[in-house]
């Protein structure tokens, strides 16, 4: 399916002077073009923020298509007056194509940027070719979520989600770049709900351009005017935001997942299609996920282990009362091999010591260690999502567990990583990417 496009900027054309739809693809309907011409941001519309003036925007057209756009500065005004001209490239994305990109405008922007669709044009053509965006994108960007789980943190993100779901117009102030924050918000919402959130990451608020999520200027003295327009203000610049708050429904579910570091659980939930889902019943889904995770049989969880391997291995699980069922993915095979082949008796006594230490741990700790085991070995095998999740979960583990246990775990993983690096560089270099992944994992585990 084709994506029609248009450029809105200030120019002197045969048709008119000033801000207008200067270029458009032939397939763009008259009704859509008219709507874009009124929506288009003009002079001095971009918020002044560090890191450049630009904005990613999304809103739904009356025709049912989604308008994904990017607004940037594009040099001096043609008329010789002061100020820089603002240029907006609109992509009119049919609902089917938008769904292919997980209803995520940022994914569309990434794909379109890759083919140069958002470059600022100095000489504007009269007509533009419609675009074709191939491929699809994953519903969740785990690396981004991992980043947001660290900064601004689970509390701020949950507050943002709760406020966004509760408000028909929300303006955000934050230290974190607004583009990241809103992209994070989109990524933490179920795919079916994302289309209900029109947004702009860097345009000044204007009631004539109704959008659900917008950003506030850096100067708080300008916020009152926005608030008087009936917009809910959310100030995330305070580092203690959300402290002591209780989030309900979907926001509460996301907060707990972020805090536990199990981002893949969130990804797993968001990947399931739920055509009936919308913003009014998303809170019920959050509560249902919470209830399921609490009611899940302990044996199931503790049984998801592999024999003999890492800190949360079979011996520990058996001691804790779980049944030692072998996992299909056998995440610890590598470690087992390392232990048996390289170190022999020394390692066996070390493993005994570790097993003894783990035997005294509560099931929650064992579960956490098993998850870390999974993530470490999946990340070493080159999975970026696992690495991103590990980056979030590991600091939680370090904060919650005994120092001894953390050190023992680190030692264990270090052995494994060294063995992989050794294999990769001995004689001739084989699969160097595994060595690189192993080093990346070590960097996370040793806070480098």
């Amino acid at each position: 399916m084709l994506i029609e496009q248009a450029i809105f900027t200030s120019a002197n054309t045969d048709r008119a002077q000033g801000y207008q739809l200067v270029s458009r693809s032939p397939g763009l309907s008259e009704a859509d073009a008219r709507e874009l011409a009124v929506w288009g941001p003009s002079h001095d519309s971009l918020l002044e923020r560090p890191g450049g003036l630009s904005s990613t925007n999304l809103f739904k057209l009356i025709s049912g298509a989604y308008c994904v756009s990017r607004t940037q500065l594009a040099g001096a005004e043609y008329s010789g007056r002061g100020g820089e001209v603002v240029q907006t490239r609109f992509l009119v994305v049919p609902a089917e194509v938008f769904a292919r990109f997980g209803n995520n405008a940022f994914a569309v922007v990434r794909a379109a940027t890759a083919i140069g669709a958002f470059e600022v044009l100095e000489h504007l053509p009269e007509t533009l070719e419609p675009l074709t965006l191939g491929g699809r994108s994953a519903p969740v960007d785990l690396a981004l979520l991992a980043q947001l789980a660290r900064e601004p943190g689970p509390a701020a993100m949950a507050t943002l989600i709760q406020a966004a779901l509760a408000s028909d117009r929300l303006a955000i102030a934050a230290e974190t770049p607004c583009e990241h924050l809103i992209a994070g918000l989109v990524n933490t919402l179920p795919v079916e709900c994302r289309t209900e959130f029109s947004f702009s990451t860097g345009l000044k608020y204007s009631p004539s351009r109704p959008i659900r999520i917008s950003c506030l200027p850096g100067e708080p003295s300008n916020w009152r005017a926005t608030a008087r327009g009936g917009v809910t203000l959310l100030d995330l610049t305070n580092s203690h935001v959300g402290d002591g708050m209780c989030w309900k429904g979907w926001a509460g579910c996301v907060a707990r997942i972020f805090r536990s570091g199990k981002l893949s659980l969130l990804a797993c939930e968001l990947e399931q299609p739920r055509p009936w889902l919308n913003c009014t019943n998303v809170n019920a889904l959050g509560e249902q996920i919470e209830a399921n995770s609490q009611a899940g049989p302990r044996s199931e969880v503790t049984a998801s282990i592999n024999p003999g391997g890492g800190p949360g291995g079979a011996e520990a699980a058996a001691t804790a009362g779980g049944s030692a069922r072998q996992r299909a993915d056998r995440a610890h095979v590598r470690l087992e091999a390392v232990l048996s082949a390289a170190q022999g008796a020394v390692n066996r006594s070390w493993a005994d010591k570790l097993a003894k230490s783990l035997a005294g741990q509560p099931p929650e700790v064992l579960e956490l260690l098993e998850r870390i085991d999974d993530l470490v070995f999946t990340a070493i095998s080159g999975d970026d999502r696992a690495l991103a999740e590990l980056e979030v979960l590991w600091p939680t583990v370090v904060a919650q567990l005994d120092e001894d246990l953390v050190e023992q775990s680190r030692e264990q993983y270090l052995r494994c990583a060294l063995s992989i690096c050794g294999e990769s560089t001995e004689d001739r270099v084989q699969r160097p990417e595994r060595a690189v992944s192993a080093i990346d994992v070590l960097c996370v585990l040793f806070d480098e």
């Binding site: 200030s10 045969d14 008119a16 002077q17 000033g18 801000y19 207008q20 008219r34 011409a37 009124v38 288009g40 941001p41 003009s42 002079h43 001095d44 519309s45 040099g75 001096a76 005004e77 008329s79 010789g80 007056r81 002061g82 100020g83 204007s206 009631p207 004539s208 351009r209 005017a225 008087r228 327009g229």
Partner: protein, 303 residues
Amino acid sequence: MNRGVAVELDSFRLANYSSQVPCLICEEGNTLDAESCRNCYAPMILAHQARSQSTAPVMFAALGPSGVGKTVYLGILLDMLSRQPKQLQLSARGGFSVTLQQNTLAALARSEFPSKTPNEPDRWNWVHCQLRSPRHRQPVELVLPDIAGEALFEEVDHPRSYRAIHSLLSRCDGVLVLIDGTKLQSGSLDEDYFTMKLLSHLSELAKDPQHAWSSRPVALIFSKADQCESCFEDPAGYAQRHAPGLWRICQQRFRKHRFFAAGVAGACATRTLRGGSQQSVPLRIEPRGIVEPFEWLVEHLRT
């Protein structure tokens, strides 16, 4: 010892919202504390200020394409009439009404033209002032917006795209239509076509013959006339020679119309900026023919 205090009940405060305040421009009902109209985005302070008067304010509008000089013309006009001890005087009502003249004069003092008026209606400058003239015993309330040329163009092309403009043009008592004199002199017909479209749009607006645009005053001003001196000598003749279509439509459809010429910058130069782009620089401020069109409009106000 506790002292009694009067606390307003929340329920009573909410009761205030049951009565709506109509917008001065589009007459749509708004809540008491709304800052701008939810329909046309005009500032609600105009409605609140107008409520204190027994008669509805007079409305004028400055119209013309983008870059014709509406902001500069209005800014200078307001500044001249608010400072000079002439027969015609304007005094601003509310701080927001001074912003336009302040911004214009500040830009000109920096040897720059004011930056573009944004398309978004909520960012337009509105002026509410009191007009004192020998023709009127009592001061007349006057509302005068500075609207973006692009928005006007869009409204003329696709009526009701901008509700503020549609309502304003339907209601206003007279218009100042600006036409770029330098472009007409260079042979460009764009200005002629745009103004013809605009006047044709106006003439079709009011269905009621009593309020038809044919009987409302229309002042047509050749702007930037300092760069085409012949404008000043005979504006009507200049219109007949350089904009025949416009001249004819005025003769046929607008009983009260008159051509004027005006200029603000005595001379202009072009500065090349670092990136290679060019900027127009007003070298001095030498207003000519600014007040006359406004005076003529006031004279032809329906009393």
